[in-house]
C-alpha cells in the first residue's frame, strides 16, 4: 500500500490527517467562542454533542485521526533518524529560511499531545466519558454543563498557563503544518508557496487566538468573581 | 616507414558518409549480444557511445574515474553547441558549417571528417531535445540561437550558460537507461592503467579500482577511449583536476599514433592567474564576447596606473580605450576565433598594456551592451557568469562604477588566455579507429575534426557526433568479422603481462621516496610548458623546453615522494602515474611544435608570422597531419609520419577575419 510503503505516501497520511485535525480545531474554536457570548447557548451545544451516536462516531473518527497522526509521526521520525546515519555533525548551523518549527515538529507535537491529554482530563472525561459510563456527575458538575467546567478550569492560573503553553506549541505546529500539508499534497508552486504560508499564518493565528480568548477571558472573569482552583 | 591509410570513402565530400553507411558491414542483433565493447570515459563522447552501443545490443563496459559519469569535464562547457539547422533563416547550411569549421581550423583538419560532423550536427540537436535537454527557447516556443566566434550566422544552441552540463546530463540519462536495461555495466572510480593487445588487436584494459587500489582485468572485442584532452600537461588550464592524458599515452606507447599534439587551444576569456597557489583557471564563457567588448588602454601611462592599482578600468574614458579586436578585425570584431583573440591579447600585454598587477590581463566590458539592452537583458543572458566572476574576484561586472560626461561605465571584467582544449590527439581514420586494430578514439581525445584550432561550440558537437552517430556505425564495420571470436579470458598471458607492467611501474614510483610532491613537480612542468611550448613558440625556445622537460623527468624519477602505500586509496600515487604521462605528453607537444615550421591555428611559431603579426601557414610543406610513433621508450624521440591532406571541396586560403 503506497500510503505506508512510500515516503510520499506516508507524508500524505500525515498531511491529510493533519488537515482534518485543523478543520476540527476550527470547528472546536468556533464552538468555544459561543461560551463567550452565552452560557446557555454553549451548554446546548454540549448537550447536542453528548454521548449521542453521531457524536460518538465523530469522536471515534477524530481519535483515529489523532492516533494515526501520532503513530506516523513517530514512525517517520524513526526512519528519518536512521536515514541521517550514525555520525552526527559536530557543528551545525541553521540557514535563515529554515523555520524553527519545521525542524521540531515532533517535539511540538508531543507538547500538543500532552496538552490534549490534559484537556481530555479536564473536559472530555467529565463530560462525554461521564455520560458514556452513565455517571453524569463524575466531574462534580452535570455532564452537559460545559460552561461550568470552563469557568471552573480557567479560574485556576496553573491551568491557564498550561493551556497557553499548549496553544503556543499548537501555533508553531500549525504554522508549519499548514503549508507543509499542502506542499506534500502537491498543491503548491513558487507563487502559491508564499500564499499558503501567509494564509496558514493568518488562519493559525485566528484559530489559536480564538482558543486563547476563551482561556484568558474566563480567567479574567474568575479574578473578578474571586473563584479559585478546585 | 609505416604508411597511413585514413580510409576515406570514395565520392564527393557531401556523399561520402551516406555512401559509407550504405556499404559498410553491419552486425546482426543476435551477434551483437555476443560482442563486448569497453568504453573508457563517460563524457559527451563516452557516455553517448556507451549508451548507443548498449541500446544497439552490444555488451558494454563503461569506465570513469569520478564517482559518477555525470562529473566528466564535458559538463563545464558553457556556451553552446553548433548545428546547421538554419532555424534563424540567416543562410546557414551543412556546407557553411563545414566550411567555417575547416577555415576555423586553419585548413589542417581532414575534410571528409569535418563534412560528416557538419552533416550529423542537426541530428544531435534533435536527439538532445528528445532526451529532454532544456535548450533556450523563443517566446513562440521554437529553439533559440546565439552567435559565436568564427561564424557569421547564429547557429549555436544553448541552455543558459550550462550547455555542456545539460548535454552531458542528456547523455548520462541515456546511459543510465542502458545501465538499468543491463546492456551497460558501469565502473565508477576506476582508472585505465594499460591497454591489452592480443595478436595485434586491442582486446582489453587493466584498470585500477581507485578505492581499493587493486588492479583489475577487463576483456572485450574492441576498446574505445573517450578520455578527453591533455591540457593539464600545462598544470594550469581550464581542465578539471582529474583530466589527464594517461589513457591516450598508454595507447600511444602500445603503438597508436599521436596526431598533431602541438595544436593546443588557448581560450581567450579566462579569469587571469592570481597567485602561485592557484590550482586551475576558470573559464568565462566565450558567449560573453557576443556583447562584451575587449579593450586595453590606448595610453601606456594608463596601463601603468592600472598595473600599480592607482586607477580602475572604469576611470578610463571611452576615447582612451583601445578596442583592439574591433580595430584590427573590423568584420568579426570581438568574435574572431579563439586563437586570434588570444594572440591579440598576448600581443597587447607583451607591449605593456596589460591591466592588472601582473600585467597579464585585458578588459572585457559590458558598458555598451548594458546601455543598449539594459541591465536586465544583459543579466538574463550572462547573470550566472557575472555572479561567478564576482564570487571569484570580488568585482561585480553589472555594477555601475562611474559616469563620465553622461557616459555610464560599468565595472569591466578582466580576462586572459589560458590553455583550454587540445585539438591534437590519438590519430584515427575515417572510422575513428586508431592505428591499433580494434582500438577506437572518440571526442577530444582523437585529433580529427578541428584541425589546428577549434571553433567555439564545436567541441560538444564533435563529442556527441562521435558518440551518438559515427562510432556506433563504424565500429560495426570492424566487429562484423569478429562475431566468431569468442569472449576472451582475462587469464591469458597478455593480461598477466600487462598487469605486471602496471604493478612494476607502481612499485617503482612508490620506491623513489624522494622529497618532492607530485604537484610541485607538476607545477614546474607547467611553467616550462607555458613558457616554452605555450602561446608564442620559437625553435630555440622549444629546444630549450625539451631539455627542461628532460630535467623534469630526471627530477621525477629521482626525487618524487608518494606517501602511504599502494594498497587502498592513494590519491598521490594516482596523480603521480598521471604526471609521468604528462611529462611524456609535454615532450610530444614540443617535438611536434618544433617540427612544424609554420604557424597555424593554435600553434604559433613566432618565426612564422606576417608583418601584421598574423599566423603564416606554409601549405606547401606542412599540409599534413603530423603523426608521432612511439619508439619503445619515453627517453627516445618519437618518429614523425605524415598523413597528407587532400582538399576537394574547399579551396585552401589564408584565414582572414578582417573583411
Amino acid at each position: 500500500m503506497w500510503l505506508s510503503n512510500s515516503s510520499i505516501g506516508r507524508k500524505v497520511v500525515m498531511s491529510v490527517t493533519g488537515i482534518a485535525l485543523v478543520l476540527f480545531l476550527t470547528f472546536h474554536m468556533s464552538m468555544n467562542l459561543v461560551a463567550l457570548i452565552s452560557a446557555e447557548g454553549y451548554n446546548v451545544i454540549c448537550e447536542f454533542l453528548g454521548a449521542n451516536w453521531y457524536a460518538l462516531v465523530a469522536t471515534t473518527a477524530l481519535a483515529a485521526l489523532v492516533v494515526i497522526h501520532i503513530v506516523y509521526a513517530f514512525w517517520l521520525t524513526m526512519m528519518n533518524r536512521k536515514a541521517r546515519g550514525t555520525e552526527r555533525y559536530a557543528v551545525e548551523a541553521k540557514p535563515k529560511s529554515v523555520e524553527w518549527a519545521s525542524q521540531n515538529m515532533l517535539v511540538l507535537g508531543i507538547v500538543v499531545a500532552a496538552g490534549l491529554g490534559l484537556h481530555l482530563a479536564n473536559f472530555w472525561y467529565k463530560m462525554m466519558f461521564a455520560e458514556i459510563i452513565g455517571n453524569p456527575t463524575l466531574g462534580g458538575l452535570e455532564a452537559t454543563d460545559g460552561y461550568g467546567y470552563i469557568v471552573q478550569t480557567f479560574s485556576c492560573p496553573i491551568f491557564v498557563v498550561l493551556y497557553l503553553i499548549w496553544l503556543a506549541a499548537l501555533w508553531f505546529h500549525l504554522t508549519h503544518g499548514f503549508w507543509s500539508a499542502l506542499q506534500t499534497l502537491g498543491w503548491s508552486n513558487k507563487i502559491w508557496f508564499e500564499r499558503w504560508k501567509l494564509i496558514g499564518n493568518i488562519y493559525t493565528t485566528l484559530v489559536v487566538l480564538g482558543f486563547a480568548a476563551v482561556v484568558v477571558v474566563f480567567y479574567l472573569k474568575s479574578l473578578c468573581c474571586g473563584a479559585s482552583c478546585v | 616507414m609505416a604508411t597511413i591509410d585514413s580510409k576515406i570513402p570514395e565520392g564527393p565530400v557531401a556523399e561520402k558518409w551516406t555512401n559509407y553507411k550504405a556499404h559498410q558491414k553491419l552486425v546482426n542483433p543476435a551477434n551483437k549480444r555476443r560482442l563486448d565493447i569497453i568504453v573508457v570515459g563517460t563524457g559527451l563522447a563516452g557516455a553517448s557511445a556507451a549508451a548507443s552501443l548498449g541500446e544497439m545490443g552490444f555488451r558494454v563496459f563503461n569506465f570513469c574515474i569520478q564517482d559518477s559519469p555525470r562529473r566528466a569535464h564535458s559538463i563545464a562547457a558553457q556556451g553552446g553547441i553548433n548545428a546547421a539547422k538554419n532555424y534563424q533563416n540567416d543562410g546557414d547550411s551543412v556546407y557553411r558549417l563545414f566550411y567555417d569549421t575547416v577555415k576555423g581550423g586553419d585548413y589542417r583538419a581532414r575534410e571528409a571528417n569535418v563534412y560528416r560532423l557538419a552533416e550529423v550536427s542537426n541530428s544531435i540537436i534533435d536527439q538532445c531535445v528528445a532526451q529532454g535537454v532544456p535548450f533556450a527557447r523563443e517566446y513562440g516556443g521554437t529553439l533559440a540561437n546565439r552567435s559565436f566566434g568564427g561564424a557569421q550566422v547564429s547557429r549555436t544552441f544553448y541552455a543558459k550558460g550550462q550547455t555542456g552540463q545539460q548535454l552531458l546530463l542528456g547523455a548520462y540519462s541515456a546511459l543510465s537507461r542502458q545501465v538499468n536495461a543491463g546492456t551497460v555495466k558501469l565502473y565508477t572510480r576506476y582508472e585505465m592503467e594499460e591497454l591489452v593487445i592480443i595478436e595485434g588487436r586491442a582486446r582489453g584494459i587493466i584498470a585500477k579500482n581507485l578505492i581499493t587500489g587493486k588492479l583489475e582485468r577487463f576483456a572485450a572485442h574492441a576498446v574505445v577511449i573517450a578520455t578527453g584532452g591533455y591540457g593539464n600537461a600545462y598544470f594550469l588550464s581550464t581542465n578539471a583536476m582529474a583530466c589527464n592524458s594517461s589513457a591516450a599515452m598508454q595507447c600511444y606507447r602500445k603503438g597508436a599514433y599521436f596526431a598533431n599534439p602541438s595544436y593546443v587551444q588557448i581560450h581567450p576569456t579566462c579569469i587571469p592567474v592570481h597567485g602561485d597557489k592557484q590550482s586551475k583557471l576558470t573559464l568565462m564563457s566565450e558567449s560573453l564576447r557576443n556583447d562584451g567588448r575587449i579593450w586595453v588602454p590606448k595610453k601606456l601611462e594608463d596601463a601603468k596606473a592600472l598595473q600599480a592599482g592607482t586607477k580602475k578600468g572604469s576611470d578610463i574614458p571611452e576615447e582612451d580605450r583601445d578596442y583592439y579586436l574591433e580595430r584590427r578585425y573590423p568584420a568579426f570584431g570581438n568574435l574572431v576565433p579563439r586563437d586570434v583573440a588570444s594572440r591579440a591579447a598576448k600581443e597587447r600585454c607583451d607591449k605593456g598594456y596589460g591591466v592588472n598587477n601582473t600585467g597579464l590581463a585585458v578588459f572585457l566590458d559590458f558598458s555598451e551592451a548594458i546601455g543598449r539592452l539594459g541591465i536586465d537583458v544583459v543579466r538574463q543572458r550572462y547573470g550566472n557568469l557575472f555572479d561567478m566572476y564576482e564570487e571569484i574576484t570580488d568585482v561585480n561586472p553589472g555594477e555601475l562604477a562611474k559616469e563620465i560626461n553622461g557616459v555610464k561605465y560599468y565595472n569591466p571584467m578582466m580576462i586572459y588566455p589560458a590553455i583550454h582544449y587540445t585539438m591534437g590527439g590519438i590519430w584515427v581514420d575515417y572510422e575513428l579507429q586508431t592505428s591499433i586494430k580494434g582500438l577506437f578514439a572518440i571526442g577530444e581525445c582523437n585529433f580529427s575534426d578541428h584541425g589546428a584550432n577549434r571553433l567555439g561550440a564545436s567541441a560538444l558537437m564533435q563529442g556527441l557526433a562521435d558518440g551518438y552517430f559515427v562510432l556506433p556505425y563504424t565500429i560495426q564495420n570492424y566487429l562484423s568479422d569478429q562475431i566468431t571470436v569468442p569472449r576472451f579470458s582475462t587469464d591469458l598471458p597478455e593480461f598477466a603481462a600487462a598487469e605486471k607492467a602496471v604493478n612494476d611501474k607502481i612499485d617503482r614510483l612508490m620506491s623513489i621516496q624522494g622529497n618532492e610532491s607530485v604537484d610541485s613537480i607538476h607545477k614546474k612542468l607547467g611553467h616550462i610548458m607555458w613558457e616554452y611550448v605555450g602561446m608564442g613558440r620559437t625553435a630555440e625556445g622549444l629546444k630549450k623546453g625539451l631539455e627542461e622537460i628532460k630535467k623534469i623527468r630526471e627530477e621525477f624519477n629521482k626525487n618524487l615522494f608518494i606517501p602511504g602505500s599502494k594498497e587502498g586509496m592513494n590519491i598521490e600515487l594516482d596523480k603521480a602515474i598521471r604526471l609521468e604521462d604528462f611529462i611524456t605528453m609535454g615532450e610530444l607537444i614540443a617535438y611536434d611544435a618544433l617540427s612544424r615550421n609554420e604557424s597555424c591555428g593554435g600553434h604559433f611559431r613566432e618565426e612564422y608570422q606576417t608583418e601584421e603579426g598574423e599566423a603564416k601557414r606554409d601549405d606547401e610543406n606542412f599540409f599534413y597531419v603530423g603523426c608521432w610513433e612511439y619508439q619503445g621508450s619515453d627517453e627516445k624521440a618519437p618518429v614523425l609520419i605524415k598523413e597528407p591532406l587532400h582538399y576537394e571541396a574547399i579551396k585552401v586560403q589564408t584565414r582572414n577575419y578582417k573583411s
Binding site: 540557514p95 | 559518477s68 566528466a72 581550464t238
Partner: protein, 251 residues
C-alpha cells in the same frame, strides 16, 4: 588585494567506511583571501606531504562549480557559508583571522564515508538509473522544432535541470532525504512534452528507488533549498508529490 588570514582548521579523518573517524586540528598560516577553499586544502596537503604524512582525501574535480564532485560540510553548512556556490567556489576572504573552521564529510546513511571527507554518492546514480531519463532511441528523434515548448516551461525545466547532483540537499536535510534531487529531475522531464509520456512511471520508479536506498522522508524544512548551490526550489518537490500522488491514484 585581499588580506592574508591565519586560522585553526579542524578536519575529519577517517580511514575507511567501517573505521572510526576523528577530528585532526591544523594551524593554517597566512592564507591569501583569494585562495579558494579547495586550494587552501591543497596547501594543507602539500604541508602534510612535506611532513611525509598522508594527505586529506576529498572529492573535487572541475573547480568551477558545475561538476558537483566537491562536497564538504564547513562550519555547519554544506558547501560552506556562501549561498548559491559550491565548495570549490568558496574563497577564503569569507573567513576571518583567528577563526576555527570545521570541515566534515556529508553525513547521511545514503552517503557512506569512503575515506576522510570523501563519501560514496553512487546512490544518486542508482536513482537516475531507475527512471531519470526519457526513453528515446539514438537517431529516432524528430526535428527539434516540431514540438513547440512555451518559453516559461522551458525556462522552468532548465532551472530544475541545473541540479549538479552534489548531494548537499541530503547533507543539509535532518532527515537525510534526497527529495530535492529526485524532484529536480522529475520536474525537469515532467515540464517538457517529451518527458510527459513517462512522467507517472518515472516519478514512481525514482521515488521507490530513493526509499529503497535508505534516504529519509521529506518534512518540508527547506534546508535543502537553502543550501543548494544551484538554488533549486522546493516547488519541484511539490511537483514531484503531485506527479506521484496522481500516478498512485490512477493505479
Amino acid at each position: 588585494m585581499d588580506k592574508n588570514i591565519s586560522f585553526t582548521l579542524k578536519v575529519w579523518r577517517q580511514n575507511g567506511p567501517k573505521e572510526k573517524g576523528h577530528f585532526e586540528t591544523f594551524q593554517m598560516k597566512d592564507i591569501p583571501g583569494d585562495t579558494s577553499f579547495l586550494e587552501m586544502l591543497d596547501i594543507l596537503n602539500e604541508q602534510l606531504i612535506s611532513e611525509r604524512k598522508e594527505p586529506v582525501v576529498f572529492d573535487h574535480d572541475c573547480r568551477e562549480g558545475i561538476c558537483g564532485m566537491c562536497s564538504l560540510y564547513i562550519n555547519g553548512y554544506p558547501h560552506g557559508p556562501a549561498t548559491g556556490a559550491t565548495t570549490c567556489q568558496l574563497y577564503m576572504r569569507r573567513f576571518n583571522d583567528g577563526d576555527t573552521i570545521t570541515v566534515e564529510p556529508w553525513r547521511s546513511a545514503g552517503f557512506p564515508v569512503i575515506k576522510d571527507l570523501m563519501v560514496d554518492r553512487t546512490a544518486y546514480d542508482k536513482i537516475m538509473q531507475a527512471g531519470g531519463y526519457i526513453s528515446v532511441r539514438t537517431g529516432s528523434a524528430e526535428d527539434a522544432n516540431n514540438i513547440l515548448i512555451p518559453k516559461p516551461n522551458a525556462d522552468e525545466a532548465m532551472d530544475a535541470a541545473s541540479c549538479i547532483g552534489c548531494g548537499a540537499c541530503v547533507a543539509a536535510c535532518k532527515n537525510g532525504s534526497a527529495m530535492l534531487f529526485v524532484s529536480a529531475k522529475v520536474s525537469q522531464l515532467a515540464l517538457l512534452p517529451q518527458g510527459k509520456v513517462e512522467a507517472a512511471r518515472r516519478a514512481k520508479a525514482m521515488l521507490s528507488k530513493m526509499d529503497e536506498l535508505g534516504f529519509g522522508n521529506c518534512t518540508n524544512t527547506r534546508a535543502c533549498e537553502a543550501e543548494c548551490p544551484k538554488c533549486i526550489s522546493i516547488s519541484n518537490i511539490a511537483r514531484l508529490n503531485r506527479e506521484f500522488i496522481k500516478a498512485k491514484l490512477k493505479d
